[in-house]
């Protein structure tokens, strides 16, 4: 990976926070890969390899800004400030989970953090993020919304409808496309025209707002671009689209078959966003090798504590399955 301009122009605290966030996501997901195949039920979708996108974009957002994400939503939740104990709690289906165990991985949400839900429908969260921006406009607030989704989801009609409405209503929305190359078991190059595959951001043009293609594995580039996009939206200039090119290192869901050539996956491991940032931080004297090791130990301990918290949390009572169907009945 080429060295870019020095990252010192971003404050050291911000860089360290970006690093720690990516580490948290990586370790959370890596442990989850074991847990989902042993102690937990259901399905989880790994964000390993894509950490720079969640970390970089969420670092550019305020706590009261909104995000929506997808089935691959653990990274965004952590980056927005999610507590890993309550997240694991949810993945274990326990009462101390974010949704009292009712949702599991797919719709994990915390409205206090502005996380309006992961979503089991790949483009389902996109118009919801646009709606949150419409609400922000109605309330004369300067809150911004970010919608995270994959390039697979971008082919659903809902993306088109949401992007069009965001542009005509001039809404403060940042659309973040995570181009991770694989739409479950299908290469994205087969579902996008060859003239578009390296320029997915071009689709923004049809709605009249800016779109930019960036290296989604460079957390500094993601952060800087996100800051530009968020400021653009917050200052009333309307939507912005960032196409982050990255790679889904793990399989579609944890434990799935892998039809990809091993060489392809190994090649992408060489562009690991966390390794990349570590190298750059050391080269530029932001952090020492032993600081990195200390951080890893600290985060690893936090992850283990979180898992233990979740294990100890009680399972929900069966009758609680009938609660919350309605807010008010009749």
């Amino acid at each position: 990976m080429n060295l870019k301009e020095p990252i010192l122009e971003i404050e050291k605290d911000v860089v360290l926070k970006l690093y720690e966030t990516m580490l948290k996501i990586r370790m959370f997901e890596s442990r989850e890969k074991d847990l989902i195949q042993t102690e937990q039920e259901g399905f989880a979708h790994s964000y390993v390899g894509e950490e720079a996108i969640a970390a970089g974009v969420c670092a550019a957002l305020r706590k009261d800004d909104y995000i929506t994400s997808t089935h691959r939503g653990h990274g965004h939740m952590i980056a927005k400030g999610g507590e890993m104990g309550k997240m694991y709690g949810e993945l274990y289906g326990k009462v101390d989970g974010y949704c009292m165990g009712k949702s599991g991985s797919l719709h994990i949400a915390d409205f206090e953090l502005g996380v309006l839900g992961a979503n089991g429908i790949v483009s389902g969260g996109i118009p919801i993020a646009v709606g949150a921006a419409y609400s922000s406009q109605m309330r004369k607030s300067d809150q911004v919304s970010a919608a995270f989704f994959g390039e697979g989801a971008m082919n659903q009609g809902l993306f088109h409808e949401a992007a069009n409405m965001a542009s005509i209503y001039h809404l403060p929305v940042v659309f973040v496309v995570e181009v991770n190359h694989w739409q479950c078991g299908v290469r994205y190059e087969t579902v996008y025209h060859r003239d578009v595959i390296n320029n997915i951001a071009v689709r923004a043009q049809s709605y009249g707002f800016p779109g930019i293609n960036i290296n989604g594995n460079d957390v500094v580039e993601v952060f800087k671009t996100a800051k530009t996009a968020v400021d653009h939206a917050r200052s009333g200039k309307g939507p912005y689209l960032i196409a982050c090119y990255t790679y889904r290192i793990e399989t579609h869901f944890m434990g799935d078959i892998d039809i990809r050539p091993k060489e392809e996956v190994d090649e992408w491991r060489k562009s690991d966003p966390i390794n990349d940032l570590e190298k750059r931080m050391i080269t530029e004297g932001i952090i020492s090798g032993s600081d990195i090791e200390d951080t890893k130990v600290r985060v690893s301990e936090l992850v283990e504590e979180s898992i233990e918290f979740a294990r100890q949390s009680p399972a929900p009572k069966p009758e609680s399955a009938l609660e919350h169907v309605y807010a008010k009945y009749p």
Partner: protein
């Protein structure tokens, strides 16, 4: 008492609530300056302006998804999908998003949206502009389904639906929009989950929804002349359902005909019949009869459309059949 059109009653409900809540808005294509495809929102754009009465592109799924996003961040939404036939375009936003959020997020937020849509035929609008899908939504936990048959019911129920914290499918009927009904000047609401006896009787219970209430009342008037006293019960909301009042009527008359404009097969009549058979079996002196559209798409010309859609004669036939038993 003054008489106003069904559409005006709906309009008044929206206006009254929007004047109280600056974060309540109406969205749909043609609701703005055009005044709505059925002239329901006439004059509202002039009063409330952009974003409060907001014209939308033709994007049902997106605009209901957008409505969900506004509703979980402090606003309330009314979305007008003028023809119920267009609702399949929005099934994800209604079924997978709006209906699920309060539950799947364990009560963190609810989704206070009302989807207003007009169903029904008898106007030669043909296969893709005449359908009735209320039962699809009865089947989705998390949704409420309201079907008023009069302007009085519509206004009171819509005000309740708007202030309800949950997503409500508010089903109107194209033929009823110009019909005039007595509606008080003073504000009032009707709670969801309360059925209404539109006509008292003792020989047979006719449960009818939406426009079929009027067919049932006409049939009941004819039955009176034959010496048959029919009780016409209007559930007004299918979810929540006022089982108590409906079953009370069945236990009194011992015979039931259920009438809806939707197709008989898989229609709400089956759901209602099963509830009655389960909870009032001992009171029944005859099988439960259902009247609805025959199981074919709604065709264009009058001669064919009338053959498929339910008629007064169908209701009379059903009553006669079960009274013989």
């Amino acid at each position: 008492m003054r008489k106003i059109e069904f559409r005006e009653a709906i309009r008044e409900a929206m206006q009254e609530e929007m004047r109280k809540d600056p974060l309540l808005y109406l969205m749909g294509y043609d609701v703005g300056e055009y005044g709505g495809e059925f002239r329901v929102s006439s004059g509202m754009y002039a009063e409330f302006g952009d974003r409060r009465v907001q014209d939308a592109p033709i994007n049902e799924n997106g605009e209901i998804g957008l409505a969900v996003g506004t509703a979980i961040t402090g606003c309330r939404a009314i979305v007008e999908i003028p023809f119920m036939d267009f609702i399949p375009m929005a099934m994800d936003a209604i079924v997978n998003q709006a209906a699920k959020f309060h539950y799947t997020f364990a009560g963190q937020r609810s989704v206070p949206i009302v989807i207003r849509t007009a169903q029904g035929g008898y106007i030669r609008a043909a296969e893709q502009h005449s359908q009735c899908f209320e039962n699809w939504f009865v089947h989705v936990p998390g949704l409420k389904v309201v079907m008023p048959s009069t302007g009085y019911d519509a206004k009171g129920l819509l005000k309740s639906a708007i202030t309800d914290p949950d997503p409500v499918i508010f089903v109107e009927h194209k033929l009823m929009f110009p019909m005039k009904f007595e509606v008080p000047e003073e504000e009032y609401t009707i709670p969801l989950g309360s059925a209404d006896i539109k006509k008292e009787g003792k020989d047979v219970t006719i449960i009818a929804t939406s426009y079929m209430v009027h067919l049932a009342l006409n049939a009941a008037a004819k039955l009176e002349k034959e010496g048959i006293s029919a009780e016409v019960v209007d559930p007004r909301s299918l979810v929540p359902l006022d089982e108590e009042k409906i079953l009370e009527s069945v236990k009194k008359t011992n015979r039931v005909v259920i009438v809806h404009e939707a197709h008989v097969r898989g229609g709400w009549g089956g759901e209602m019949a099963a509830i009655i058979a389960d909870k009032a079996f001992a009171y029944l002196d005859a099988p439960i009869k259902r009247v609805g559209a025959k199981d074919a798409p709604i065709p264009f010309p009058q001669v064919l459309e009338e053959f498929i859609l339910p008629s007064e004669a169908d209701i009379l036939d059903a009553v006669h059949v079960i009274l013989k038993q």
